[in-house]
């Protein structure tokens, strides 16, 4: 299996950064997931071979981290924080609003495959709570209104 040229270059460079090949496993899994949407069997086989680990070991690591997944999810992943700071500033309401707006529960994907949402622990944005992460992008000082704008904006963009 071959990844995109950019990822291949990245891998080649990263392998040299660590004393052992297995150390490159976690960052590689993240980049592959970004490229493919999920870590499928083929990708697991490939990464196992490249890092000289067994597929079982790769699966062990994937299952350990909640941000790594073997099945694809929606294109936009809303990760809503409900940890202490966000909780105090209305994180729970934001979470509820997201669920109502999208019509899906925790760790579910919308029927059109556009959105996936999940409740997460602290994302390190306490100063601007309540906050969420949309893929790698932070959205802070949230209100239900801001959520609506965000989601509608994406829908509009995607349906054009």
């Amino acid at each position: 299996m071959k990844f995109s040229d950019q990822l291949e270059q990245r891998f080649a460079a990263m392998v040299t950064h660590y004393p052992t090949k297995r150390s490159v496993l976690v960052p590689m899994l993240l980049y592959i997931q970004d490229e493919l949407g999920a870590l499928n069997d083929e990708a697991i086989h490939e990464i196992a071979e490249r890092t000289e680990l067994s597929e079982l070991e790769v699966r062990n690591v994937i299952s350990y981290y909640s941000m790594l997944r073997t099945h694809p999810i929606g294109k936009y992943n809303l990760q809503v924080c409900t940890n202490v700071s966000c909780l105090l500033r209305g994180g729970e309401e934001i979470l509820e609003h997201c669920q109502k707006k999208l019509g899906v529960g925790n760790k579910q994907t919308t029927a059109d495959g556009l959105f996936h949402m999940e409740e997460v622990e602290c994302i390190g944005a306490c100063s601007w709570a309540p906050a969420l992460m949309l893929n790698y992008e932070f959205h802070e000082n949230l209100t239900p209104q801001k959520i609506d704008e965000l989601i509608d904006g994406i829908r509009k963009k995607e349906h054009q």
Binding site: S54, E55, L56, E57, R59, N60, S63, Y64
Partner: protein, 797 residues
Amino acid sequence: MADVTLIVDGKKLTVPAGTLLIEACKSTGIEVPSFCYYPGLSLQGACRMCLVEVEKMPKLQTACTTPVAEGMVVTTESDKIKQARKSMLELLLANHPLDCPVCDAGGECELQDMTFKYGAAESKFMDMKNHRDEQQWSPVVYFDRPRCILCYRCIRVCGEGMDVWALGIQNRGSSAIIAPNKQDHLECEECGMCIDICPVGALTSGAYRYKTRPWEMKHTGTVCTHCADGCKTTLGARRADTGMQIVRGDNRDKSGINGDFLCVKGRYAFDFAHSDCRLKQPLVKRDGKLVPTTWEQAFELIASRFKQVLTTDGPAAIGIIGSNHTSNEENYLLQKFARLALGTNNIDHHRTADFPAFASALAGKAEATASMRDVHNAAAILLIGNNPTEQHPLLAWQIRTNVRLHHSKLYVVNSYPIKLRRQAASFAQIAPGSEGGFAQFIAGSDAAADSIVSPKLSREALAALRDALKQETSLVIIFGSELRGNDVKALVDFGLARSAKFICLGDYSNSRGAADMGLYPDMLPGYGPVASATTFHTDWLDEIPATSGMNLLQMMDAAKEGKLKALYVVGSNPIARYNIDPFALSKSFVIVQDMFLTETAKIADVVLPVANAYEKAGTVTSTCGDVQILKKAGDFAGVRTDFECIVRIAATMGYDVRKLVPFGGEGTRADMGQSRGAQSGEADRHAVWLSEHNLEPKMSPFDPSAMLDEIQRLVPAYDISRLSLLSGQDVHTQLVQITGATGLGHPELVLPANDTLFTSGTLGRFSATLNTVMERYSSPVEPEMVAGYDPAARQGP
């Protein structure tokens, strides 16, 4: 390392620095409970059961990960500790059902014991149990998630111990789960070590589960009868219609040379003993068909035909083929019967290694053979040929453990990339078939290098390897049957100059014993020549025929020509093994003693159903020369031991069996002394002990220990400690040869068994469990791992 003095529970003790606290406690008899800690495996610190108080340390410490320190003051039992352990148990039991009465491990479960001790049966947890259904991972491995306490023992023993790495852990925290390498099933060596090491009933054995309870079995520690490594296996037997049926094999006492280890065969392949195909009564051929008869009639027929042949054609017209699985006593008795009662040297067996060449090369040098225990401690090991992972699983385990725990230096020389190369400090892939050449090369023959070099081994690397080996001062040299005759001599000469120790690898459970006990046409027990005067000649009143007899293949040729009038086959299947046309034996009267109707038994005139190694007493010798005692574990109605059959045939022929078996010496006829004097009852207790161990007080001619007396007296190197032997220990015997060696054996007669991890000759064919495992691996996982042999041979004959 320097010693460290510490105080545990008020007891002062001194242990080497670096010792773990849990081991230090154990050495003074204090048991610190633990689930995840296992001696010899890496540390985990997962279960938190071994918490102890250490003075001046603020929190409780895990004894399994804390090394001892000078002046340490440790408390292992206090209210605080008790409370901590109880809480740990509560956590472990959060998902664990307390249904011990229906659990397969009930009665021998470490968690059950601890829960009982600390009284944590009631829990404060109100959460839902995290349930998953039981899974079958292989024909012999089942996994029940809720019972798992995540001690990681199975993962470590599979990876570190077996070098298989088939088990892993998935998810995290309380939803963590042990996972097999193929997502829903296992692809592994099926050794069952994970089951044995599991402290609870999470991993269970497909061959045993839910058949019985541990306390309903009678446990007998005896020697595995499959490969030649001599693992001790504890067989659990239970009453059944056919007698005492073996229902489980494991190594619960861990006192054997195998320690923690057992392979798939030792653990599961005992079930040939209660195969439906087992013969239950003697058979004779009438009108071309084998029909049941009585033992008396069978013995009468055999005896009369033997006598007839002796009168009309002489002793040279009788041939005898012995077994690689029968005990030393039976082998010794068989050759004695052949040489004295029948008066012939036509005796041979299926040779799987050139032991005579090995014995001859050693030339009586003491301390030159290594025991299986030496492999565990040797500073350096040279392995030439063979593939121990498949053919000698215990040897492979010992080598791996030694490399892992003691950093032993392993040199592997093989024509295939065998799995043990992964532990090797140096792996030389030589050209196929050049193992003998390699022995000549390291012994100094530079000319041999041409045949050894391969695309994967340069001439320079080969020379460097020889130089490195020459520097090794305490080497254990292990070689397979690829090395024979002069090559063995060259290798032994090279090693002896460097005080190396040797192991010559034969293939079956008593291949070495068969060789040592003289199942050869030209050698007596102890490899002495039949022609020259030996102690046997003096002891047996010179009745040994002076000329060498026919070997196995010569006997078959003689049978074809009609010159071999009678053939007596004990526990062997030459027709299948040597691919002999069954019609070759149509002119001979053939007697077969076996458990099953093998290819050879099918064409026999008389077939006697016999007991296997799990159903009798005696001794066997592993390929390293470790002698161990066989204890009777199972029972099968209708069969008799090979020993009894041989004695009965001799008796029916009118031969004085006292000349064969020295039973009932002076004063031990019948009165054991229980009726007289102040010590009355003493001897009786002795008799009770003997019968408990399935030994007889040598009052009958069927007692193998009477034969052992003679073996110990006459066979060189077998004068070993009887006390150690009887207490179940392995006693190493050295191959010390009688002076006046016959020289080299017949290398061309050596035929390797080519068994793999999942085959075991005839025994394997009739083991249902082994067959179900084998079916799954009809195509070898790693074909190149089957060293030197045709993949088709994987199925075994």
